[in-house]
């Protein structure tokens, strides 16, 4: 009995630690006036409306969402053929590309960011919005690459053989068997990359920081030059988006499997 209580208490403490700053931010975000006060003085959802009404915040929101949508799409476009090739072919040297796909995520982000800064500056495209999309795509390509590799590993190869005995050529097999089976992993990979791109600061800042404001850049700039409760409401908004996206993945897919709960080499 005490054992169970202790366990509950431990879960509660960790949960509290993880939730506390977010609770405070959520509280601050509903202040009526432009106060940094908790518990909030008065109640108002104006600061949430501000995200969409204030032209500057709205611009940053649109920029962030466009960036995340396109970066995640490019990341998936890179990861899908690569993961497929690695699953389909025996070509040990091609694993170098897998390593290249994982490296940007493992290295300290500042390094990748600085690499992009020097590259785009040398190439003469520094500050162009699309450079941020490509940079984010490379930075987050790890996520769809990992989810898709897991997805491919989970496909029973006899399904593919069965399709070919029934008259399907490689292309048809890909379209009618492999892609439908891989789709949940593709969507998860896209969603992971999307959420992380939405929140990413340093790469965006070093590539387009002086010409374009994404929401994290906007929050940071606001933090340096003063305080506005919109920062708090945007933060809560972002937590909500992340929770929603991951919640959906958990609802329609197996998030435990995606996070490695089951061995990927089941066949």
């Amino acid at each position: 009995m005490t054992e169970r209580l202790l366990r509950r208490f431990y879960f509660f403490l960790v949960g509290l630690f993880l939730a506390a700053p977010l609770i405070v931010v959520a509280g601050v975000s509903v202040n009526e006036k432009q106060d940094l006060a908790f518990p909030p003085k008065g109640f108002s959802l104006d600061w949430y409306a501000e995200i969409f009404v204030n032209p500057e915040w709205r611009k940053a929101l649109v920029a962030s969402i466009l960036l995340a949508l396109s970066a995640a799409a490019i990341a998936v476009a890179i990861a899908l053929p690569l993961a497929w090739f690695l699953w389909r072919r025996i070509a040990p040297w091609a694993n170098i590309f897998q390593l290249l796909g994982v490296a940007p995520f493992i290295l300290p982000p500042v390094i990748t960011a600085l690499g992009f800064l020097t590259f785009w500056a040398n190439a003469g495209f520094y500050g162009q919005p699309w450079t941020a999309a490509i940079s984010h795509a490379i930075f987050f390509v790890t996520l769809p690459l990992v989810t898709l590799s897991l997805g491919f590993a989970s496909i029973d190869r006899s399904l593919v053989e069965a399709a070919s005995t029934m008259g399907a050529d490689d292309r048809t097999v890909l379209k009618t068997v492999v892609l439908p089976l891989i789709l949940p992993y593709l969507v998860s990979g896209y969603a992971f990359a999307f959420v992380l791109s939405l929140n990413e600061y340093i790469v965006a800042y070093m590539t387009v920081g002086f010409t374009m404001e994404t929401l994290p850049i906007k929050i940071f700039n606001a933090l340096r030059y003063g305080y506005t409760p919109t920062m708090a409401s945007v933060s809560v908004f972002f937590v909500a988006i992340a929770a929603l996206v991951f919640g959906l993945i958990a609802r329609f897919g197996d998030i435990r499997r995606l996070l490695g709960a089951m061995s990927s080499d089941s066949n």
Binding site: F38, L114, I202, F220, F246, I255, G260
Partner: protein, 284 residues
């Protein structure tokens, strides 16, 4: 479709786009950065092509030594705290029902994906005088007057543990969830209490996992670039912050690049060490 070696050039087509993208936009930028680390700073623009080792020579200063020492120490403390909190937590989590696990994983992923900017802002609010936790303590009668808990080392450490904890749990999760439950049951039938069994069976069985996780979290913490800036004083700045600062605010990209190269080498050495530990785990 069985795996087979590529037979014709056409079989390589799927590889073309990924290979091109990763080479052009990762290998080349990375090489560019290494190249730039030997360039000279140009106050008028970004940098001037040259070959100087001045940028690396600057590492030898006392200031740089302090920053490096502080960065390493901070990352080690963060890694130790995270693993100490996360290991028992993850272990207990894997004993919960699938539904409970899923809910926790969704929450952890949501926190993990949070922008460092938002984490920094959230903790600076929690530690602030006007909206901070001290108000709660005053209300409880533990303190007479609310006060700001930042900037300071405690704030930096708390923020970084907060940032790295979900990461630590998710790194530990696969190893713990796949741990053979009969191992523990065997220990229990032999008369060990749950806590004893955990300490005597689970921890030793996963010793290498723990070491590998420590290194991964250490590298993760080394990459923290905003929290020391938002929650700390200048003496709490880490190498990552310094790189950002040199690159953006001091416009000394060559020096930033040299530090980045140094940081890469250090991270790579540590990741290599992780792989080595992992291999020994598989072998043994």
């Amino acid at each position: 479709m069985r795996r087979e070696p590529p037979r014709s050039l056409a079989d390589y087509t799927p590889l073309v786009f990924p290979a091109l993208m990763l080479t052009v936009f990762f290998v080349i930028p990375f090489s560019t950065m290494i190249m730039v680390s030997f360039f000279r700073r140009d106050p008028a623009g970004f940098f001037k092509p040259d070959f100087v080792v001045d940028n690396y020579a600057r590492f030898l200063s006392l200031f740089f030594g302090n920053v490096l020492g502080f960065s390493l120490m901070l990352a080690i403390i963060v890694a130790l705290c995270c693993v100490a909190i996360a290991f028992p937590f993850t272990y207990l989590l894997t004993k919960q029902s699938r539904k409970v696990q899923t809910v926790w994983l969704v929450c952890l992923l949501s926190v993990l994906s949070l922008s460092e900017v938002i984490i920094g802002f959230a903790w600076s609010t929690l530690f602030s005088r006007t909206a901070g936790i001290t108000n709660l303590f005053v209300w409880l009668g533990l303190m007479t007057e609310p006060q700001a808990l930042l900037p300071g080392f405690g704030a930096v450490l708390t923020g970084m543990v907060y940032q790295a904890l979900p990461y630590t749990i998710l790194v530990l999760y696969p190893a713990l969830v796949r741990l053979d439950p009969t191992l523990l049951e065997a220990a229990r039938t032999l008369g060990a209490s749950p806590i004893r069994a955990f300490l005597n069976v689970v921890v030793p069985a996963l010793r290498n996992t723990i070491v590998a996780t420590l290194i991964m979290v250490f590298v993760f913490a080394l990459g923290s670039y905003l929290l020391p800036q938002i929650l700390g004083r200048p003496q709490h700045w880490t190498l990552s912050v310094l790189i950002t600062d040199q690159a953006i605010y001091q416009s000394n990209i060559p020096f930033a690049a040299a530090m980045a190269v140094f940081l890469v080498l250090m991270s790579l050495a540590l990741v290599g060490l992780t792989l080595l530990v992992g291999r020994r785990e598989n072998a043994g």
